[in-house]
């Protein structure tokens, strides 16, 4: 088997037995990227030199037996909104095209401390605004299962990279489905963590009350290994939770008999692709075979999830993106500027793509005097009802199961002319973020040759349970092991 296609668990075992070195594993991965990524374009930056240096250090750590963790020597890459000291961090935006962060995000610092090897940065929709990766200011990323289709978004580069085995795992970021939706489109396992479970320090903010960093990998077991390292309180992020971090691998292989699964009826409405629905129904049957108790539940405010999500997103994003003004970092278009306002107008015109500008304008609009109550405040009230829907459901069941997306990956260019149609592809993934609850997307079948994802949604801080159920499902299915034809 090719080294680059090993799971984290398999690679970790070979490293521990010293049957392979991190330098060999990392080199094989980098060579595979240089061969394969020309057609997929998952990476904005591949950092060969620093990766090889880190791999040598990891091998040295193993040789000396110092501070060895399950991640020591494992090559990974992250979505390009996560700050990496000295490695270009662009958010796939012209405005940050040449930005070199002077510090590491906490998640990067923790992975470095564990000895993991950073190999590069993934393409994304600009500032996380999009569902197809087509809003990257640089280039489109292609779905490894069909290069004419999108990988989903906004963590599209991360999902495509893991699907094509370009890096053993990835970190994505999920504001309203941005980990789960591309994971579903690309046959990858991805975890949106509970809001506050993972530090956001060094994450370039999109929506400060929604943003969650989480792992993307070949299976739930590997996601658990990564979460173990990145989860926990961080003094640099006041919203990070101080709840103790459980041992995510401790019970992951335990039986799942007797857990109660809720099927939200509002997630099975007209408009779902037939092959998606049949895959999900079959997966639910499989969960029943594992001894889980299946029952229908209702989340009555589901159809309001999308407008609530986008309204709050626009408002918070317009404030967060005010910092990009051409004075302290990033692009600065100062030619002919007579005053500082000219500098702002010119820089932000050149630096932001159309979708980012649309959302900043909409944010200012819904927050403006006279409209604040009708839009922003209204959305925050319905957000309370969305959260209560989940709380009520979790009094009856332990986990909710639903499709990740109503369709499989669509064609490049299919939805770019119609922003609202693009937003609607997020219909099943957005409600979790206003409620702050965690959700895991696992591969569960194919429809017309393209992958289908199933999401397991849990109550706050139930990542251990979601990963255990995901692992149980993956122990009796092989969907997650299937690889796109181009890398077989």
């Amino acid at each position: 088997m090719d080294l680059y296609s090993l799971t984290l668990r398999e690679a970790g075992e070979l490293l521990a037995k010293k049957q392979v070195s991190s330098l060999e594993l990392t080199s094989a991965t980098l060579e595979h990227i240089h061969r394969t990524d020309a057609s997929i374009r998952a990476f904005v930056t591949v950092s060969d030199e620093t990766a090889l240096a880190q791999a040598r250090q990891a091998d040295e750590r193993r040789r000396r037996g110092e501070m060895v963790t399950p991640l020591t020597g494992i090559p990974f890459a992250v979505k390009d909104c996560i700050s990496t000291k000295g490695v270009r961090t662009t958010c796939s935006s012209r405005i940050l095209e040449n930005y070199l962060p002077p510090y590491n995000a906490t998640v990067i610092a923790r992975l470095a401390e564990a000895g993991a090897v950073l190999i590069g940065k993934h393409n994304m929709d600009e500032f996380g605004m999009g569902s197809s990766c087509e809003n990257s200011a640089f280039f489109n990323t292609h779905n490894p299962w069909d290069l004419e289709r999108v990988p989903g978004g906004s963590s599209g580069g991360s999902a495509a990279a893991v699907a094509a085995r370009m890096g053993t795992f990835a970190l994505g970021e999920d504001t309203g489905g941005s980990i789960r939706m591309p994971a579903g489109f690309c046959n990858v396992t991805g975890l949106k963590t509970t809001y506050g479970r993972v530090s956001r320090y060094g994450l370039i903010a999109l929506v400060s009350s929604f943003d969650s960093i989480g792992p993307m990998a070949q299976d739930a077991y590997d996601c658990a290994s990564v979460l173990q390292v990145i989860a926990g309180k961080d003094p640099h992020d006041a919203t990070s939770l101080s709840a103790p971090v459980p041992d995510y691998l401790k019970d992951i292989t335990q039986p799942v008999k007797g857990f109660r699964v809720g099927i939200p009826k509002e997630y099975f409405q007209a408009g779902m692709e037939a092959g998606v629905e049949s895959s999900i129904r079959e997966a639910i049957r499989k969960l029943g075979e594992l001894g889980m108790e299946i029952q229908e539940v209702s989340l009555p405010h589901t159809k309001y999830g999308l407008p609530v999500y986008y309204l709050i997103l626009f408002a918070e994003a317009s404030a967060n993106l005010a910092r990009f003004d051409g004075t302290r970092f990033g692009l600065s278009v100062s030619e002919g500027a007579e005053n500082v306002i000219d500098l702002y107008l010119q820089t932000r015109r050149e630096g932001f793509g159309a979708e980012v500008r649309r959302r900043i304008m909409l944010g200012a609009y819904v927050l403006s005097a006279g409209y604040y109550d009708a839009y922003y405040l209204k959305a925050q009230k319905v957000r309370t009802l969305l959260r209560q829907d989940f709380e009520n459901a979790f009094e009856k069941v332990d986990v909710l199961v639903a499709p990740t997306c109503p369709t499989t990956a669509f064609k490049l260019g299919e939805k770019t002319a119609d922003p609202l149609a693009m937003y609607l592809s997020d219909i099943y993934v957005v409600a979790t973020n206003p409620a702050g609850v965690p959700a895991l997307s696992v591969p569960c079948g194919f429809s017309n040759g393209m992958p289908v994802g199933m999401q397991l949604i849990g109550k706050h801080l139930s990542e251990d349970l979601l990963l255990r159920l995901g692992h149980a499902y993956q122990s009796v299915t092989d969907w997650h092991k299937m690889r796109p034809g181009m890398i077989q």
């Binding site: 070199l100 002077p102 510090y103 809001y195 506050g196 009350s209 003094p235 919203t239 939770l241 159809k303 309001y304 407008p307 609530v308 309204l311 317009s318 005010a322 004075t327 302290r328 970092f329 990033g330 600065s332 100062s334 500027a337 007579e338 005053n339 500082v340 306002i341 000219d342 500098l343 107008l345 932000r348 015109r349 932001f352 159309a354 500008r357 649309r358 900043i360 304008m361 909409l362 200012a364 609009y365 819904v366 403006s368 109550d373 009708a374 839009y375 405040l377 209204k378 959305a379 925050q380 009230k381 319905v382 957000r383 309370t384 959260r387 922003p419 609202l420 409620a435 702050g436 706050h460």
Partner: protein
């Protein structure tokens, strides 16, 4: 608290409004772009009127969703980011200072 009556579904964000909002958020846009944005923003805002169906008379707004209420920590003196690290990304500098165009009119 009673919320104001929400706008009707047939309202439009015209190009003048687009240009006004764009200036407020310091986005330079052309006439042609304003014309393209106008129907798109109108369609999206109209979609949000779906929320008018929901009775929120007795519902409190959620400002955030975690259990954290107030976070305090001891004030500690710590070294800041070294000046050269900060200045590394600054587009225009003069000595150790960040340089920007005129902020106030000279009058």
């Amino acid at each position: 608290m009673k919320t104001k009556e929400s706008p009707k579904n047939d309202f439009t964000i015209d190009t003048e409004m687009v240009k006004h909002v764009a200036y407020l958020v310091r986005l330079g846009i052309s006439e042609k772009e304003a014309q393209a944005f106008s129907p798109q923003l109108t369609e999206i805002i109209n979609y949000f009127h779906l929320l008018n169906e929901v009775d929120t008379e007795a519902v409190k707004p959620a400002s955030q969703i975690s259990a954290i209420r107030s976070v305090m920590r001891t004030d500690q003196v710590r070294p800041s980011m070294p000046r050269p690290d900060f200045l590394m990304n600054v587009p225009h500098t003069e000595g150790n200072n960040v340089q920007v165009p005129l902020v106030f009119d000279e009058e």
